[in-house]
C-alpha cells in the first residue's frame, strides 16, 4: 500500500544552523503537505505542494513527484522551531493522506 518513509527520525540543531528532512514515497503521490506539531499537539500547516518548490521565511520545501520524494529545508534554526515535523502525502486514492513517522527536531542554544 501507500507508504511514506521519513528521515531522520530525530535531529538536533544549534541555533543558526540548518538541515534538511526528507520523505520518500513508495507509490506515486498527488501532493505533499508538511506540518509542525507543537507541544500541545496542534498541527501547523507549513506547506502544500502538488509539484515544485515553495519557500516561506526560513523554510523551503520541494516535491518531486516523478522521483517520489519531498524535502523540507530549515535554515537559521531558532529555538521555537523545536517540535515534531511530519510530511504527509496525498495518495491517488480519494482524499487519503498518508503520514510519515515524523522527525523530532530539537534546537539548542
Amino acid at each position: 500500500g501507500d507508504q511514506v518513509e521519513q528521515s531522520p527520525s530525530a535531529l538536533s540543531l544549534h541555533e543558526g544552523t540548518g538541515s534538511a528532512l526528507r520523505c520518500n514515497f513508495t507509490t506515486t503521490m498527488r501532493a505533499v503537505q508538511w506540518f509542525q506539531q507543537n507541544s500541545r499537539g496542534s498541527l501547523i500547516n507549513l506547506f502544500y505542494l502538488a509539484s515544485g518548490t515553495k519557500e516561506n521565511g526560513r523554510l523551503k520545501s520541494t516535491f518531486n513527484s516523478k522521483e517520489s520524494y519531498s524535502t523540507l529545508h530549515i535554515r537559521d534554526a531558532q529555538l521555537e522551531d523545536s517540535g515534531t515535523y511530519f510530511c504527509a502525502a496525498l495518495s491517488s486514492s480519494f482524499s487519503k493522506l498518508v503520514f510519515g513517522q515524523g522527525t523530532s527536531l530539537s534546537v539548542v542554544p
Binding site: Q33, S42, F86, L97
Partner: protein, 111 residues
C-alpha cells in the same frame, strides 16, 4: 476566529464505556471532513472521511464509527472503548481533495 472546533479537549474513560467525540467546522461550505488518530509518540493514521452529509467512508477499522449529521459536524464514536483506543484524535477539513487543515485535537485516555 477558529474555523475548526473539537470537543471535548480531553477525556478519561473506562474500558467498555461509550465514547463520542465531536468536530465542528465554521465558515466553510460543504467541506470534506476527516478523522485521524495518533498514538502517543506515534504518527497520524486516517480513520474516516466524509465528502457530504450522511456519507462516511472508513479507511482503517479500529472498532470505531463516524457520522456526519450536519454539513459542519463530524462525530466519532464507539459503544465500547478498548485500551488501544487511547491517544490523540484529530479532525481535519479540506475543500475538495486539496490541502487539509487540522483541529486542536482531543486527548483520550482509556483506563
Amino acid at each position: 476566529a477558529q474555523t475548526i472546533h473539537q470537543w471535548p479537549v480531553a477525556e478519561i474513560k473506562a474500558v467498555g464505556s461509550p465514547l463520542s467525540l465531536g468536530c465542528t467546522i465554521k465558515g466553510k461550505s460543504s467541506p470534506n471532513l476527516y478523522w485521524y488518530w495518533q498514538a502517543t509518540g506515534g504518527t497520524l493514521q486516517q480513520l474516516f472521511y466524509s465528502i457530504t452529509v450522511g456519507q462516511v467512508e472508513s479507511v482503517v477499522q479500529l472498532n470505531l464509527s463516524a457520522s456526519r449529521p450536519k454539513d459542519d459536524q463530524f462525530i466519532l464514536s464507539t459503544e465500547k472503548l478498548l485500551l488501544s483506543h487511547s491517544g490523540f484524535y484529530l479532525c481535519a477539513w479540506s475543500l475538495e481533495q486539496y490541502e487539509q487543515y487540522f483541529g486542536p485535537g482531543t486527548r483520550l485516555t482509556v483506563l
